[in-house]
Symmetry: C2
Subunit: 197 residues, 2 copies
């Protein structure tokens, strides 16, 4: 990259660290921001605000500006906890409005090959919350990947002995799908979990 | 967007102003940055550095940190000026290393329907540079869009009476193209501009 200013080169480097941003996208974003200095300032300031204002809730480990967070303090069903991998998964759950209980964010999933062991996830904190005896059901909403499934299995083995019901999100055909194009493993799970009409 | 912090909502709003960033991409970028606070700080700081350090060169109106810019001060061919629409077009020209002269950035192209008139482009400044009598050739490298072609035509009419040669980048078949898939207008221009072997 010839004849480009030092600070712009640095900005391009930072932009390229973002997911799915390569050389061309970084250039496009940088020149877009250069064209509107007020957007550039607003973006920089809101980044700093997020850095200084957003933290993890000490109860559920979701993101929040006030600790404990909104979801831990508003009246909700204390008898159920939904366990998710990442803070953004709470948004996906809240969007469907089907779950009325509390949340717990693990901040990852078990992945021994990548060096992620139970000690690095917020599992001890989850067990502490369960020990209080209020919780009757733990809904495991980790991702449906190898790591997410392994984490769900691991947690099931830990939680079941506490005589707490452990549930998992249903597998099945996504709404609006054409059966022809759904993968075999999903169809198999949908048959196993079929419901009577 | 339920239960999300105020500063994060603001950041999502700013990210969505970027080209081809929608709701989902903004969320992905924001949570990616939240996961690595050092990247978040570095991005914010480099944005501020660019805002404070990068300006337009007072000669060619390209971007620079020192005025006049590197391209205007290093030894290059003073007899030719390449006219481009945007600062990033200089990068595309420099990448090919086929042009050894100076540059001039118009900061846009004529577009009467969008309210872009000659007065809003750096055309007066271009004419001032030409009046010094050093320039023998102006290479018009505006985009090959309706606006870019109109701007090239407009500039040709202004510059030709000064007895300066006005040239335009060649039209033709892109390298590596399959003739079958090249549009008719491009093939027509390639035939008109055919060269003897």
């Amino acid at each position: 990259m010839l004849h480009i200013s030092r600070s712009l080169t640095k900005l391009l480097g930072e932009l390229k660290k973002l997911p799915s941003v390569g050389d061309k996208t970084a250039l496009r974003l940088a020149f877009h921001l250069l064209k509107s200095p007020e957007n550039l300032s607003a973006l920089a300031e809101s980044l700093l605000e997020v850095r200084d204002g957003v933290r993890f809730c000490s109860t559920c480990f979701g993101i929040t500006e006030s600790d404990p967070c909104h979801l831990c303090t508003t009246p909700r069903d204390d008898a159920s906890i939904c366990v998710v991998e990442e803070p953004q998964d709470i948004l996906a759950m809240e969007r469907c409005q089907a779950f009325k209980g509390r949340y717990h964010v693990l901040h990852g999933a078990l992945s021994p090959l990548n060096g992620v062991t139970p000690g690095q996830l917020r599992i001890a904190e989850l067990l502490q919350r369960l020990e209080k005896g209020l919780v009757k059901e733990v809904l495991l909403a980790t991702n449906f990947t190898v790591e997410g499934e392994a984490t769900a299995l691991y947690l099931t083995r830990l939680i079941k002995p506490l005589s707490i019901k452990v549930t998992r999100l249903a597998h099945g055909i996504p709404i609006g799908s054409d059966l022809e194009y759904v993968d075999a493993a999903t169809v198999q799970r949908a048959v196993e979990g079929r419901s009577e009409l």
